[in-house]
Symmetry: C3
Subunit: 294 residues, 3 copies
C-alpha cells in the first residue's frame, strides 16, 4: 500500500479515512476545519455538508500539490459518514480555477508527467464518481481543468457576471482535451454544443454558459453560498442509497472508460507533452502569462 | 406455447391475434369495443386508431392483472391489420397511472416477484417496440411506471394544469429506476436532465415537464382527445413500413439491451425487493398512502 | 490504384492532390478557380478558404456524376495545404440540394446501385471526416441527402426565409434513412427530435430548423456569404492540429460504424432498391415530379 500523498488513493483508503468513521471526539463543535496549504475544508456536521475552498493564489491552478491535497481531502470526506455532500468553491477572488498547472507540463521528466497526469485522472475519477452530492459554486472564471471540476459535479451554480467565463478551451492552446473531458462535457451539454465548443476552445461568459446548459443556475455573487446550501439541502432530502445507485448508473459507462484505458491515457499524455512543438508553445504561453502579470 | 394470459406473449402470437387479421365479420359497425376489467379498448376501424383507456380505480396502478390485460389488449391491436395507432389515456379522473402496484412488491414470494417483474418488462417491450403509432394523452398525474408508459410512446400530450405532474420519482421512495427506465428517459430528455431528475426523483408539473421535453405538447383538458386524434392523423399520413423501420432503428439498441439482460434484471429485482429494509420502507409507504386516503 | 473518377479516392490520394502541396506557380493570383460540370470551386489562397458551389440545375440532385466531382474536388482541397476551410453553397436559386438523384435508383443494374451507393457513402465519409473547417451556407431548400451534406458540416447557416425547408424526409417517400444519416442527425439534434423528425419525414422551415438546432444560425439571404466568411474566420483562428484532433475525437465513433459496415450497407441498399414495390413507388414519385414541372 503506497504511503499517503501518493495518488493511488482510490484503491487504498488511508488510515485517517477509516478513523474518520469513528464518532467525532469533540461532539459539541458544530464545525471542524482541517487546513491544508491549497485547499480549505469546512465540514458542518449538523447538515452533513462540507465546503471545499480552493485557496492557491494567484489562480488556483491544478498543480500536483493541489491535486494531491484535493484528493486526500475529498477522500477524507468520502469516508466520513457525517459528510453527505460537498460544495466546491474558490477562496481566491475572480477565479474558480485556472485549470491544469502548465509548469507541471514544461521541461519535466516523463516520470513527472506520468505522476501529474495520474493525479489529474484521480481528481476526476473521485469527483465524477463521488457518492456524495457535489455542487460547484463557481465564483470566478473556470477554464479547462477548472471547468472539468465543475462539469464533474452534480449541479453547477455560477455568479451571473458576464466577466466570468467557463469552458474547455484547450484547443485555444493547441492542446486536445482528453476523451474523458469530452465524455463528461457531452453528458452535460449534448453532442452538438460540445463539438462546437471544444473545436473552438470556447470560454463562455456565465449567461451564455447558462443558456447552453453548461451551468444550471446563475445568481448574484452575494447569494452564491446561500443558493449552494439550498440546492444541497434539496438533494440531501433524498435517501442516500437510492440517489448514489442512480448516480452510478448514469455515470458508470464514462467512468469505466477511463478506468479501462488509464495507463494508455497516461502514455498518450507523456508522448504528447514531450513533443518539442508542444513544449515550445507551452513555454510561449507561460511567457505571455508572465508578461501579462507584470 | 404458453396459454393466453401468461406473459411470454411476445414470442408467441395467440390465436385471436391471428384471427383479428381476418376481415371483420361486422363491417357496418364503425366502432368495436372489447371490455376488460382494467383496460377499455375502442378501435375505430375507419381511422385505424384505437384508444386504450386505463380504468383501474382509484389510481390505475400497474398491478399484475392490469399489466396482463394491458399486454393482451395491446397484442390484439398489434396483430390487427385494421389498427395502425393507439392512444393511451385514463378513464380515472386526475390520474394517468400511479405506476407499479406496491402491493405486488410486498410480502410476496420470489416467484410472484419474478412474474410481476416479467410483466412490467413485457409492458415496456411492447409499448416501446410497438409497430403502431403510440400517443400518450396524459390526463392526470403520472409518476414512476406511469411516466414510463408515457415515455415509451412516440408522442406525449399532457393536460396543461400544473396540478398534474409526471416523472420517474423512484428515488423518492428509496428505489432505483431500472436501467431501461433510465435509457428510455435519456432518449427523451437527454443525459443532464435525466441525471438531475432521476437523482432527485422529481415529479415535474406539466408546464415544467413541457419545458424539459418530457412531454411534447400541453393542451386544455377539454381539447386533449381532439389533439391526440389530430397528432395521430399526422403520424398516420406516413406509409407504415418506412415509419416502422425508422422507429425500430431509433429504439433497437435500447430494446436489445433489456432483451439481452432480461433474466438478470428479474433476479436483480427479486433480490432487491426481498431485502428487509426495502420491504419495511414499502410497508411504511403503503401505510402513509392508506392514512392519506382516510 | 484506381483511375481518378473512381470513388475509392479515400485510400488513394491522386497525383494532383500531392502536386497541390507544391508552392503555387502563380503566387500573384489571389483566387484560382477550377471548374467542373456540376461543382464550382473557388479557393482564396490568402484566407485559405474555398467555396464549393453546387451548380447542377434544376435542383442540384446528387447524381453519380455530381458525387464523383464533389468528392474529387473535396479531395483536391483536402490535400492542398493552402486550403484550411470550405464553404458549401448553391449556385442554383432556391435550392441547396434536393438530395439523392432518384433516376440513379430506378431501373438500373445491381452494379450501378452499388457504384451509386458507394459514392453516397464516400461523400459523407469525406465531409463528416474532413480535416478542414466545413460550413454549410444553406441558400435554399435542402431535403434528404441535401440535408445530410449540411448536417455533416461543422456549422450550418441558413437563409431565414420560411419558404426554404430542410430535413431528412425519406420516410415521406416510403424510404428509410440509413443508420449513418440517423447517427449524424442524432449528433446534431439529439435523440427525441431525431426520432420525431425521421419518423414523420419532416421538412422543417428555416425558423423551425433553427429552433430545433438543425441549423445554427439564420441570416437574410444577402448576408449569407458574408456571415459564412465571418464564421469561417472565427473557426480558422484556432490552430488546425488541435481542432482537427478534437473533431476526429467527436466524430470517430460514427464514422467508424459506417466504415465497419460499408459493404453490408451497400448490399442492404441494393436489395432494398431492387424490390418491385420500391421501384414502383420511385417511378410514381418521378412521374409526379415531371407533372409538377410541366
Amino acid at each position: 500500500c503506497p504511503p499517503p500523498g501518493v495518488l493511488s488513493l482510490c484503491h487504498c483508503p488511508p488510515a485517517w479515512g477509516r478513523a474518520a468513521r469513528q464518532p467525532p471526539s469533540l461532539p459539541l463543535a458544530p464545525c471542524r476545519a482541517f487546513s491544508n496549504n491549497k485547499v480549505l475544508v469546512e465540514l458542518d456536521e449538523s447538515s452533513g455538508v462540507a465546503t471545499m475552498k480552493f485557496k492557491s493564489p494567484p489562480v488556483n491552478s491544478l498543480s500536483l500539490d493541489f491535486l494531491t491535497e484535493f484528493c486526500i481531502s475529498l477522500e477524507k470526506l468520502e469516508n466520513n459518514r457525517a459528510c453527505r455532500g460537498v460544495i466546491f468553491t474558490s477562496a481566491v477572488p475572480k477565479i474558480f480555477s485556472s485549470g491544469l498547472d502548465i509548469t507541471e507540463m514544461c521541461g519535466k521528466s516523463p516520470e513527472h508527467y506520468a505522476e501529474f497526469w495520474r493525479a489529474v485522472q484521480e481528481m476526476w475519477l473521485r469527483v465524477y464518481g463521488s457518492n456524495m452530492v457535489t455542487v460547484a459554486a463557481v465564483n470566478g472564471s473556470s477554464p479547462a481543468g477548472g471547468c472539468l471540476v465543475a462539469l464533474s459535479c452534480d449541479y453547477r451554480i455560477m455568479v451571473e457576471s458576464p466577466k466570468f467565463s467557463i469552458g474547455l478551451n484547450e484547443a485555444q492552446l493547441g492542446i486536445v482535451a482528453p476523451f474523458w473531458f469530452k465524455d463528461t462535457f457531452v453528458n452535460v451539454v449534448g453532442h452538438r454544443v460540445a463539438e462546437h465548443s471544444l473545436q473552438l476552445g470556447s470560454l463562455h461568459p456565465a449567461p451564455e454558459a447558462h443558456k447552453l446548459g453548461l451551468v444550471d443556475e446563475l445568481v448574484p455573487e452575494e447569494k452564491l453560498q446561500e443558493k449552494a446550501a439550498a440546492v444541497m439541502a434539496r438533494w440531501l432530502a433524498l435517501p442516500d442509497h437510492a440517489r448514489q445507485l442512480t448516480k452510478s448508473m448514469m455515470r458508470k459507462a464514462v467512468l469505466d472508460r477511463l478506468v479501462a484505458h488509464r495507463e494508455e491515457d497516461i502514455q498518450n499524455f507523456i508522448s504528447f507533452v514531450s513533443k518539442e512543438s508542444i513544449q515550445k508553445s507551452l513555454r510561449m504561453y507561460m511567457e505571455m502569462l508572465k508578461k501579462k502579470k507584470s
